[in-house]
Symmetry: C2
Subunit: 501 residues, 2 copies
């Protein structure tokens, strides 16, 4: 059997396992009976261990080396896949197995301690675990070897290949200089949108039907996916022809389901439109966490919160909730769904202030890994930065430094991807306007097809064949530029809050 064939057969086996694991997980989050959960975890554990074995076996390492020796003659998709597989292989293999195991156990303990600490709003409980997570991660970086010149860059690269603190310092700095004054002007504006009508009772079944229609408008293929209810919404790829969306229904705030579904629909649109050439390869996935988020945010904000999108859809919405919106004008509806209000909690943040939440976390992580910040300094620094950037100060650790699970899982370096998603999306929108200057008209006509096709040929199609910053460069002709997001936010929010009046 040829080396390439051995490689693709190896991954088709891994994909078979991953499909099962994904379905076991999806089922657990959408309706598995609660008593079955304990054994379910064992089943997921058994299969995950097997995937780990397949991905890190010595035989597989030898296959990679043989392929690397013939790099020049390889099919380009296989060549790029070998590169990705090597990266994953080294991440696991460079760490001594005993330490790797200890680290997994530490993370699992830390997550359960974090839960209690958050419930009790007591950082001191979590402190020793977070301290050990940071020092263990530093030790891992020692094994992996530094990438791009600093320990924290090594972590950034795992989620967003090629991303560095040098880039982030600059773009976050520029973005903050434009967002913070905007947040302050909005806080001072007397022209606040009326929002009370958002919170009226909207029956779940009606929300469900409307959410399905939103997915259909986006071009989501229901013959290659489905929509289900869950507690913490997510998109999941079961296989390339089975891409599932989940959502949550709050009968007192329909926005949770509608914008949540559109957001996850954006992730699904990415996965449903990966190129055929990637089939079965490890690069049959999104280019990075940030690029993935750019697609969900593009759908949620640049489509879903655009006034033109609602020109006809507001009438459709009224069919599902006629009393709720009987006396509401389109313009007031659009202002309401674009309300901006600085908050303490990241996952409740609006699109204007979201990036500020990320900057707080980024600066703290950078301090921990590249600077001399101590874990014990985190709570106070967190609160100070929230006050400085957002004008709000947490009154306890639960609504401050303990709010996110990421650090308990040692996912240091992950947060920046969220903000990158916003910047990528705005920059893609800038490039799209050159090809589709009638973007707003398309939305008004509910003709999303040309928009989706543009995203597919420029982004979705390539999967992880291209790296995130290469996609950005190829599509927009420039590097990461926060001006697109800043301009979009300034223009939009000046209008919503009538800041020039």
């Amino acid at each position: 059997m040829s080396l390439e064939k051995q490689f693709t057969e190896h991954f088709s086996k891994i994909k078979g396992y991953e499909e099962a694991i994904a379905l076991l997980y999806w089922d657990l989050r959408t309706g598995a009976p609660k008593k079955g959960v304990e054994l379910r975890s064992e089943s997921i554990g058994t299969l995950s261990a097997e995937v780990f074995n397949l991905s890190t076996s010595d035989e597989f390492g030898e296959l990679l080396s043989s392929l690397e020796a013939e790099q020049a003659t390889l099919d380009p998709f296989v060549r790029r896949s070998v590169e990705e597989a090597r990266k994953e292989y080294d991440l696991s293999k460079k760490v001594p197995p005993e330490e790797y195991k200890k680290f997994i156990i530490l993370k699992s303990k830390a997550e359960s301690v974090w839960e209690t600490a958050k419930e009790d709003s007591d950082f001191s409980l979590f402190l020793p675990y977070l301290d050990e997570l940071v020092s263990s991660t530093k030790k891992m970086i020692g094994y992996w070897g530094e990438k791009n010149g600093s320990p924290y860059n090594t972590l950034l690269d795992q989620y967003e290949p090629g991303m560095t603190t040098e880039i982030l310092d600059e773009v976050f700095g520029k973005l903050r200089q434009r967002i913070v004054p905007l947040v302050q002007k909005i806080a001072a504006s007397p022209n606040k949108p009326k929002t009370s009508f958002l919170y009226e009772h909207f029956p779940k079944e009606a929300q469900q039907d409307f959410s399905r229609q939103m997915l259909e408008q986006l071009g989501y293929d229901f013959e290659a996916g489905r929509l289900d209810e869950t507690v913490h919404p997510f998109m999941i790829s079961i296989n390339r022809q089975d891409i599932r969306v989940t959502t949550k229904y709050d009968e007192d705030d329909f926005r949770t389901a509608v914008f949540g579904t559109i957001h996850e629909g954006g992730h699904a649109m990415y996965e449903q439109n990966l190129g055929e050439a990637l089939s079965g390869l490890p690069i049959e996935t999104g280019a990075s966490m940030g690029i993935h988020e750019s697609q969900s945010l593009f759908c949620e904000n640049f489509i879903g919160r655009n006034e033109h999108f609602w020109q006809q859809n507001f009438n459709l919405l009224k069919e599902y909730a006629p009393k709720q919106f009987a006396d509401v004008e389109l313009v007031d509806y659009v202002r309401a769904i674009n309300e901006s209000k600085p908050s303490l909690i990241r996952i409740e943040a609006d699109e204007l202030s979201y990036a500020l939440h990320i900057m707080v976390r980024y600066e703290l992580e950078k301090g921990l890994f590249d600077g001399d910040l101590q874990v014990s300094d985190l709570p106070k620094l967190w609160n100070d930065k929230y006050e400085e950037y957002l004008g709000v100060r947490p009154s306890n650790d639960a609504e401050g430094v303990l709010q996110d699970v990421h650090w308990a899982g040692a996912s240091f370096g992950y947060f920046p991807s969220y903000a990158l998603g916003y910047m990528y999306a705005a920059q893609f929108k800038g490039a799209m306007l050159k090809d589709l200057p009638n973007f707003d008209e398309l939305l008004a006509e509910r003709n999303i097809n040309p928009i989706r096709e543009w995203l597919t040929s420029n982004i979705h199609h390539h999967g992880a064949f291209k790296k995130p910053l290469d996609i950005l460069k190829d599509v927009t002709g420039e590097g990461l530029n926060p001006a697109y997001l800043a301009e979009y936010l300034e223009e939009k929010y000046s209008k919503i809050y009538q800041l020039d009046n």
Copy 2:
């Protein structure tokens, strides 16, 4: 690690895989998007191959031999599990791998040819495949070695351990002598039940709610299972705390869902009540296909079609379909749901004539394996026997010899289990009446608990720790006795059709 521990760890790994396979299958049958099916089959194939490898590896063979050498000192549940594992191991290992593979491919081809042949109602298309399936199965029996003195007994033993043609000839003969005259009397009876009201429109959602209530009355634990819709209903064990039921809704005949759900609920009741001591072992399953069927049929017929069960439940049913049953008396409803009419199709048969359908198949299979019956003789013989036993003659092969998929999958020896399920159930009912003489009153009060508890302690609890004929002996004090089923049918149908009037 002790040998016992190695053995249980091995099976906990296999159970992990089997959980994933079961869920992949369940999902495929309850709502997986259609485009994802092709890759889904690959995933199931990958995991199934791994389970096969784990169950037939040389290492596992050595472990079995080591355990067998220490048999006397083993925990009894492990000892019995080793016996079962050995049986499965030998079934796979005694056949040369190349032949085993050819047989798998033959079955898969034959199934698709059978589909076409059935569609075209043309046995000649299927004939060469069926011929090869029979001769290949005979060759397999050569490798396995004959069990209980004849080739067909070897096959029977695989589905119903200990079952032989000697037993079946006797019990089927006796049963037929009592069923055939009853069928003839019913056909001649002028007292046919009115059934037109059964076929009125009954909305799916209402059927769904009512079906859930039926499962709850049976004691089905919804925290360890769920009810979903499918095309060909089944029960499936995902893990011991996750036992799922599926059903089908026909809005023009509510009986499909209601009695189908009760039937599958009986299978689920078995799996939900397996003893704790069996956890993780290969004997954590039903004792045999026939015993499993006895539990579903007990629920469907001895509970679900008993007039007392409907004493209160008919009023509940009326709440869900008030117009449909407005002018129907309980007695007429009970007569209608117990209508008996000889038919050509096994899966549409009522409880009186069902066993006759099985006898036709049993006699033909026995002729093929133990006698000199040729595959080409089947269509005519099939039709002759239908005419003799049921008084109806198929007009083509689709409604005759081609109706069932079983032979295309080489599942020779499987059919008798269905009829055994009826006989076991009736015999269990006889024993139950000694402990619960108030059986009918319990049903009338909808107090199924004592009945379920009796079934659990006598049957469910033991799983496959005991063999089917041992369970029968322990519970009823005798061997297989068809008189219980015959008496039940005579008494019931004499009343329904007022045969003595």
